[in-house]
Symmetry: C3
Subunit: 353 residues, 3 copies
């Protein structure tokens, strides 16, 4: 009984914190049909400031960091991204009413990372006084790019496979070796194309720019006088927007199979566990901090809301956006943000904070 009350108090306590309460506030506004909205250009600018802040902070930490201590977590991040997509593609393919290509696009978004969710987790750890490596922001692109590239390559290969099967059944003769070589060639080109596109996307380039400036320049003064102090406030506005966005995307999910609802609700927790597990290994290998393990779990649990959807639309035009955006922005993102306290609790249990 006492435990139940403790849990209840903790959950209520977390929900009252700025990050989660503004997210819920945004969902409430949308649910009640409010015409409140944050103008699109302002939203974009808030995201830019947030990504620059995360990048700058990570860059300044990388500058002073032992590079070896970075390698293992970066590897863990990339592995997590690939594992989530591989697992998600299989899981979704077995569910009713999910086309292969839609499943791959959805798994790709869930493997990619949400900057806002990561920022929300950082703000919550800061508020709770839980330490984490400053370079964590630098892990973002490893997981994000690994997941997007894996999903798009799988998607393109599957589309090509279908096309060549159709061609074969039309009576065309194909030579195994030749096709294989061509496929391999196409894939290298394809991977390069996706890598370049992803690196050039607004979100990833803002983050990498911040990283580069943090490592190579001396932005410390402007970081401390501008980016750092505005961070929490702008995050509260962003959470409002994401809450409203999540609610309005939910309606799109009605148009597609129920399987997406199931996946959107459970996948963030499974993915978070994968990230947590790989982070735990890094903890034992290199002394990666408990806060870092939490943030790796949050990155894994999160799904891409800014850079992912346009990448998917461009790279897999056959996939249905109602399915993958509905599942990720409508369910994946709020579940991921709301489950941040879970990973803190788990890290406290397993590692001790």
């Amino acid at each position: 009984m006492q435990i139940m009350m403790d849990i209840g108090t903790t959950v209520l306590d977390q929900l009252q914190k700025p990050t989660l309460s503004f997210l819920l506030g945004g969902m409430m506004l949308a649910a009640l049909g409010s015409k409140f909205e944050v103008p699109q250009p302002v939203y974009k600018f808030i995201v830019i400031l947030l990504l620059l802040k995360v990048g700058l902070g990570a860059g300044m930490s990388v500058r002073d960091a032992d590079l070896l201590s970075l390698v293992i977590p970066a590897l863990a991040a990339a592995l997590t991204g690939i594992a989530i997509v591989a697992l998600g593609t299989r899981a979704l393919a077995r569910l009713n009413g999910v086309s292969k290509i839609d499943g791959m696009a959805t798994a790709g978004l869930f493997g990619a990372v949400s900057a806002s969710t990561l920022a929300a987790a950082m703000a919550m750890l800061d508020a709770d006084g839980i330490a984490f490596e400053g370079f964590i922001g630098a892990l973002y692109p490893f997981m994000d790019i690994a997941a997007l590239v894996t999903a798009v390559v799988l998607g393109r290969m599957s589309a090509q496979h279908t096309a060549s099967q159709n061609a074969t059944s039309d009576g065309t003769v194909t030579m195994g070796g030749g096709t294989g070589g061509a496929a391999f060639h196409v894939n290298r080109e394809l991977v390069r194309g996706i890598l370049v596109d992803t690196l050039r996307s607004p979100a990833i380039s803002a983050l990498l720019l911040g990283l580069a400036l943090g490592v190579l320049a001396k932005p410390d003064v402007v970081y401390q006088s501008f980016y750092e102090p505005l961070f929490k406030g702008l995050l509260s506005i962003l959470m409002l927007i994401m809450g409203m966005e999540a609610w309005s995307r939910l309606s799109e999910l009605r148009k597609v199979a129920h399987a997406y609802v199931l996946y959107g609700l459970t996948a963030p927790l499974v993915h978070g566990l994968i990230g947590f597990g790989l982070g735990l290994i890094a903890h034992h290998l290199t002394g990666f901090s408990a806060g870092g393990v939490v943030l790796l779990a949050v990155m894994a649990a999160s799904s891409s809301d800014i850079s992912g959807p346009p990448t998917m639309r461009a790279a897999l035009p056959e996939a249905n956006p109602s399915a993958y955006v509905g599942a990720s922005t409508g369910l994946g993102t709020p579940v991921a943000i709301l489950s941040i306290p879970l990973w803190v609790w788990l890290a406290n249990l397993v590692i001790g904070i």
Copy 2:
């Protein structure tokens, strides 16, 4: 002679303060034909931040407030809103060249509240070190909604009355009881509709969201690190915009009857007196502060510039926007803002600050 000089010094002193000087600066820019403008999305965002700030501050105060001490001022606020519309509708109907429906729409906007004017008054009281109840922001919706609902209901009833008169003179037989019942039914539906629309309007929902988060969550950290410090600066930008807007709206007034100019110049002062009087009663009944009385007078003197006009356009499409927007934004708002020092002076005289 000495008194005249004192008054002159005081007025000059007030006009030099950031709030009023930026308002006058904006009017000057527009008068001189400057092409300076603040982009629309930024303007909208500044208003959102300002309303969230007022709401959050009020909410956090309501959380700690004795609820009984809130009831009387809230009642005074609602009564003020209704009284202004009732009075304004009659006054405008007697003036030359004012149609009944235009008069109601205009009175409705003058009864509703301007968030920017209220914020300007709060900033000026803060600068002068005059205390007021933290929950004042929570009174805003009471006056605003009471005024808008009264105006629209009166407008719709008058339109229906005209329509049924026309119908009768066309030879149609109507049964008194039946029509009355229908009108009553329509009115309940109508009031519900306006209430819902007003609550869903961007301005009121931002304010109510802030209130709800202030009461139910713990936004104190983000309030003190972001919303509160940015308030004065963003208000200075907003005053610039409102000054320019006021000047450019003045030209629209030329298209309509002179009666609107008379009303726009004098109504804020009469309305402020009504608010001041009802606030004074609350002061004697519940110890409502002198600063609170000033702010109630300012709310009464102010006319709606953000949420009001679209509500009127939707609810009373027959009314002429040049008349009601010209009178409220072109004259009512600057007169209300410029008369803030008057209420401070009056409160000092009557109550003592």
Copy 3:
């Protein structure tokens, strides 16, 4: 050898400072084809805040300044603007492939002032602890307006001259005295028109508004709580935008004569020297500070990026924007910003800081 290393260290040190590193970061982003962009309304708002800040600061200083100490630097600023245009028009006219009117428009932009470059220099002097007169911002319009008016008057006179020559060769009889009188009349009207247009342009009116409020009102509180603290951070964003803009404008230069590349690369240095020289005279006459001399050189070296191009387009519609915008925004602005440390070094050498 030691000297070379010292210079290398100093240059590297300067390039690592926020202002220059964000500028280079923006150029890198554009060069790598990033899709990163700061929304237009936000960009405009940042420029407004920056100009208000510079204006307010200058105005508050003018309020307390000995007016006589202002006259000489203001004269130096205006003379610099006229000299740059006179020199540039002649120099460009001698270069291959440059039409007379394009040369005048380009020289006009290079004579006008860039608020962002000036702001960048102020931030760099502040960071290095180098003092300068607070009223420097008030010199901006003197140089800017002098240069724009000179360029447009020269341009219009040349166009009229060409037109009247054509008319004469067509066999029309013209009377010297009469035409001269008309030309003189047209010029007075023309100068008045350009003056009014320039004063009404968004950039100049924001600056003058700030100046007027700084002189006549008491914006000190809001200046210190809002405009001043946000300045460095917003400037870093602006430098990003200008770097991206500069890179993308470079491609436009390929469409026009190579002469513009030569001019764009060297003119800022020559112009800076002119400003430095006239500033040095003011230093000896009135004790104008070394920091002030640096800022006058930077203003002279800078070319207009915000208010200039639209003024030129309106006043000299025959001129080719690819030429003058490409040369000024693509080359002039980055060269001017990157050469700021040069003027600091020179001032240290000649005056001693």
